[in-house]
């Protein structure tokens, strides 16, 4: 009897061990959502990596991303994104494009671009005229049959990027309309 009681006490003590139960709880807790700076770093790294054919330089700070290519420089403001972030295909191209559209498409308030050429040392110097853009396409290189192919790893890249951009925009207070129709 005494041995049985002791075993029961031991079992109870083991189960109520605080360190053991905390570890179990943590395993069930989902990963934290990325913060603004984390997500912008993530986007910068992945957008550059996944656009294989182009030399990109992405810099950004607090809801803005500036993307320099050889012949253009673009800047977008994530607070002005018009949802949803789309994944599109272009004719005669096997790449996927993640298209980010901006509100007030003619104003240049949320997206602008300028041409880079010898005059501004290919965007190294801040010379030249900025003009409004209504959308910006992130290219995800060489996606084969991505339409509707959930199992396709390549397609998951563009979806992941689209989700990251959406998340970043929401952190930047880009608002979607709160009604249905």
């Amino acid at each position: 009897m005494i041995i049985k009681k002791l075993t029961a006490v031991l079992v109870l003590l083991t189960l109520s061990n605080p360190s053991f139960s905390q570890a179990e709880q943590q395993e069930k807790k989902p990963l934290p959502k990325a913060t603004k700076s984390q997500i912008s770093d993530w986007i910068a790294q992945h957008a550059v990596a996944w656009d294989e054919g182009t030399k990109l330089e992405i810099s950004g700070d607090d809801c803005r991303l500036q993307i320099n290519r050889d012949n253009t420089s673009s800047i977008m403001n994530f607070s002005g994104i018009l949802f949803p972030v789309e994944i599109i295909a272009k004719q005669n191209s096997k790449h996927a494009y993640v298209r980010v559209r901006f509100k007030d498409r003619y104003s240049g308030d949320y997206g602008m671009k300028k041409a880079c050429n010898a005059q501004n040392d290919f965007c190294k110097k801040n010379v030249g005229k900025w003009s409004p853009i209504s959308y910006f396409d992130f290219k995800v290189t060489d996606v084969v049959n991505y339409i509707g192919m959930d199992r396709d790893l390549n397609h998951s890249k563009s979806r992941k990027l689209a989700r990251a951009l959406t998340h970043y925009a929401k952190l930047c207070n880009a608002t979607d309309y709160e009604f249905t129709f």
Partner: protein, 265 residues
């Protein structure tokens, strides 16, 4: 011997022929220089000049003077007479008909006209009369040179205009100088900085009572301090376009670049 006679006869014909033939258009060339006079500078007029260098203005009065230089030459009949009709001949023997220089000395020293060169030079009418008479016997070569003396104009008011609107005024110091600060002037003008980005710069003009000067200042030469103060002054207005305000703040390395970004689309 016979040749000598022929030669003599030809000579005679030539000489007599020349003296009897009427020359229709006698021309003269300058012979020996008989007199060379340079007058003292004679005051003619004065003007005011406003000049601009960097951000410094200089106002000065220019007194203009004229110096006359007169050369009087012997009058010598030209050996290159032009033929006129059939009556004109020229002969090397009679071509040179000089007028003795001695006559001229009379004109100057005791002259019937009784004026000295200095007086004629100062009094234009007098000189013109003398010149006319002299030209009967001599060749008169007259040139004039202009010169000026400048005096600084102190304590003068100079108005500053931007794109034809008066915005400020400055006063010259003892040496006729006045300086200005373009950024301050632009700030006073109440012009919107977007004009300087989208237009072709600023037309800066300075006017004193009798002189003016102007300068075109391109966007690149407008001081950064102007854009900086305009940025602060118009911040609320700029922030109404929040996205662009943020984007341009991110892109621009200076407030000028900010305005360039903000107003170029």
């Amino acid at each position: 011997m016979r040749y000598h006679i022929y030669f003599f006869m030809l000579l005679l014909i030539a000489v007599t022929g020349c003296t009897t033939t009427k020359v229709q258009n006698v021309r003269y060339e300058k012979g020996q220089l008989l007199k060379h006079e340079v007058s003292d500078p004679v005051y003619t007029s004065s003007t005011q000049k406003l000049s601009l260098s960097g951000n410094q203005l200089t106002l000065e009065q220019l007194n203009n003077y004229t110096t006359k230089e007169i050369r009087i030459y012997e009058k010598v009949q030209s050996t290159n007479l032009k033929r006129e009709g059939t009556t004109v001949t020229d002969s090397p023997f009679l071509a040179i008909i000089g007028t003795p220089g001695a006559l001229l000395i009379d004109v100057f020293s005791f002259g019937a006209l009784g004026v000295t060169s200095e007086i004629w030079l100062k009094d234009t009418n007098e000189w013109e009369t003398v010149k006319e008479k002299l030209e009967n016997d001599f060749i008169v070569d007259e040139t004039s040179k202009r010169s000026y003396k400048s005096l600084p104009l102190a304590g003068s008011n100079i108005d500053v205009f931007i794109n034809n609107a008066r915005v400020d005024s400055v006063t010259t110091d003892a040496s006729g100088n006045a300086s200005f600060n373009l950024a301050n002037i632009l700030n006073r003008s109440n012009l919107h900085p977007k004009q300087f980005i989208t237009n072709k710069g600023v037309n800066l003009e300075f006017r004193s009572e009798q002189a003016k000067t102007s300068k075109k200042v391109s966007n690149k030469n407008i001081p950064e301090s102007y854009f900086a103060s305009q940025f602060e002054k118009r911040r609320a207005e700029l922030e109404t376009r929040k996205g662009r305000y943020e984007n341009c703040s991110f892109i621009a390395n200076s407030k000028r670049e900010f305005f360039e970004c903000f107003y170029q689309s």
